[in-house]
Symmetry: C2
């Protein structure tokens, strides 16, 4: 009789030592947290226990807990925004729930009803309302996390797990300016592989990204560009999805992002960018999910056909790219709108308007209630 | 001024509630632990702190600790054996230290002087001596672990880390019998890839192994065999390295294991097996590290040239294979020595004699002192 996740069973214990939110100019990504933590424990025998919201606290964890040894851990990242009426909104959180469950299954961790979790998230947001900052670019970063919590060193399916949520008030990810990033194309390390786990939001996909990132930083670049295979397929940029805009010989234009072939993280911002561009870009634009290589980018750049490029992700929304270094050669990427290309600027604007409730688009904005 | 790991700074606090060791027939792999834990904390500013051995205790861990989100975790597995004089021995622990440091570097975690850690390990073993069981096949499983312990959600190099050691008395990994395993060849998922991290002992390499293992179990197999690429390259078996023995057309014989091409974990038992077989097998045997495919195994099996196959790893030493299922076809693998092939049996015997100090071979057995 394995119990499903049931938001109606939530028990809230409020903190007796509430903190004051930091001012916006003191916010550092993922460094300060709100007053509470949402937790739901799971066991193979009993299923999901009653959810709790308690004062933010450390876990007491046996050193043999499976999350510390075999990487039974996965997460989501999304944000809560304060709209002009003071309501708290989240952006397409159903997509995060879908991806989180898909990842949980691959990681042999328990799945759960995403709608029930979103009800819990809403309760959490109403309680932590004061921590959702005012102002464009400011938000409350939400980190749903699922870890294996059984104790023991056998490599096997966890029989205990913990689903939890912590939240951190944040400002713009790359600082206050909308500033383009410079990339180093990485050809000595590969992020993901066909039939591998690159399309899942597993902690396991992140540990191996730090060294290539640090290598790129040594040579003055702020991110690395992941390539795949002999043909130099472009896959992702750092921990973001990536888009390139080209002008064709016949004057038509194309916005390209790599397809979801199992190597690409299915980003919520990626999907939103595609849908918005399909709907809103002028009719001479085509939006294509297709493979593209670093060599195509070099060639199109040389022909003057590279219009712009940008990364997309929840933390930054859009990160304009102004330069790519590959095997010692520089590919300059135009930023026609000043600190970004025109599409990057538009996409950022379109998405922010929906996130902050200034515009409604489909059912993408959820009001916490 | 970053301090190096220094074993001479060890501080020991003994438990006030010592446990009695479990009898051998109650030992389950990695389920019961000794009385103490060895810990060494590291910070970017200070380097390695004074090592401590304290009563086994839970960690107090912030839910935003980086090990829980981005998989900053790696480990080693080795065993301590009681020899006929009552001395405690470890088997090639320098190899574990070498691999652990190589993995730490790739994971952007701090490296350390392996010799200093082995001095600490010896101290730990002398203190926990009563937990090293008597009897062939019984040992104290040792789990050196390194985790990132900085707090925060930014994806970046950890500025704090914890190196620790816990230990679990164990019996034979697959139960008391030397019993062959049946495999399902996995072609719908890949474990590792060129320029990936398959050759590092990262926790990240384990989470994705559970589902293919569970799929194999559904169809009655005890492990899965990892293939790579269109050609069906054989890479590893479950969490072990793998060896195949063939008879050639001219009557000579070949023991084959996949080469260390970046996709294969450089197992200590793998290396020991190669060295022992090169030295001890009759002169009509060749030992080759080379690529081999599931199709070669099928073909050689059909020609009656497949002599035996086995996995190698610290937990099991040797796991004989008696069957491989691939795309619905069965490859029967001979077990000429009854419950295993003859080489598997010999290798197991050679290695055990060195591990338990009945025979000296090179400098492979270290006596704790």
């Amino acid at each position: 009789m394995s119990a499903p996740l049931d938001a109606s069973k939530l028990k809230i214990t409020k903190t007796e030592t509430p903190k004051d939110p930091l001012p916006n100019d003191k916010l550092v990504f993922g460094q300060s947290f709100t007053d509470h933590i949402l937790e739901v424990d799971w066991t193979k025998e009993e299923g999901w226990a009653a959810p709790t919201i308690k004062p933010y606290h450390n876990f007491s964890m046996d050193p043999a807990t499976c999350v510390l040894h075999y990487s039974f851990e996965l997460f989501e990242g999304l944000k809560a925004y304060r709209d002009s009426n003071g309501k708290i909104r989240t952006f397409r959180p159903d997509k995060n729930m879908e991806r989180m469950n898909r990842t949980a299954k691959r990681a042999a961790l328990p799945t759960f009803d995403g709608n029930e979790f979103l009800k819990l998230l809403d309760q959490f947001l109403l309680l932590e309302e004061k921590f959702v900052p005012q102002g464009k670019g400011y938000s409350l970063y939400l980190r749903p996390t699922l870890i294996g919590s059984s104790i023991g060193l056998g490599v096997s399916t966890p029989t205990k797990a913990k689903l939890y949520l912590i939240a951190s008030p944040v400002g713009p990810y790359f600082g206050s300016d909308f500033k383009p990033v410079s990339l180093e194309a990485t050809d000595y390390a590969v992020r993901a592989w066909p039939k591998g786990v690159g399309s899942y939001k597993l902690g396991a996909n992140y540990v191996s990204c730090i060294e290539p990132q640090a290598e790129a930083a040594k040579r003055g670049h702020s991110q690395n560009l992941w390539l795949f295979g002999e043909s130099g397929e472009i896959t992702e940029v750092g921990a973001m999805n990536v888009f390139f805009a080209f002008e064709n010989d016949d004057g038509t234009k194309e916005l390209v992002t790599p397809p979801l072939d199992g190597m690409i993280l299915p980003g919520v911002t990626r999907d939103s960018t595609i849908q918005l561009c399909v709907e809103k870009l002028p009719s001479d634009w085509k939006v294509n999910e297709r493979k593209l290589t670093i060599y195509e980018v070099m060639e199109r750049s040389a022909k003057g056909q590279l219009i712009e490029a940008f990364g997309t992700g929840t933390a930054a929304i859009v990160a304009p790219i102004d330069n790519i270094e590959f095997k010692g050669k520089q590919i300059e990427v135009p930023c026609k709108a000043g600190s970004s290309g025109e599409i990057a600027k538009q996409v950022n604007d379109w998405i922010q308007k929906i996130q902050y409730g200034d515009e409604e688009f489909k059912d993408w904005s959820r009001v916490a209630a």
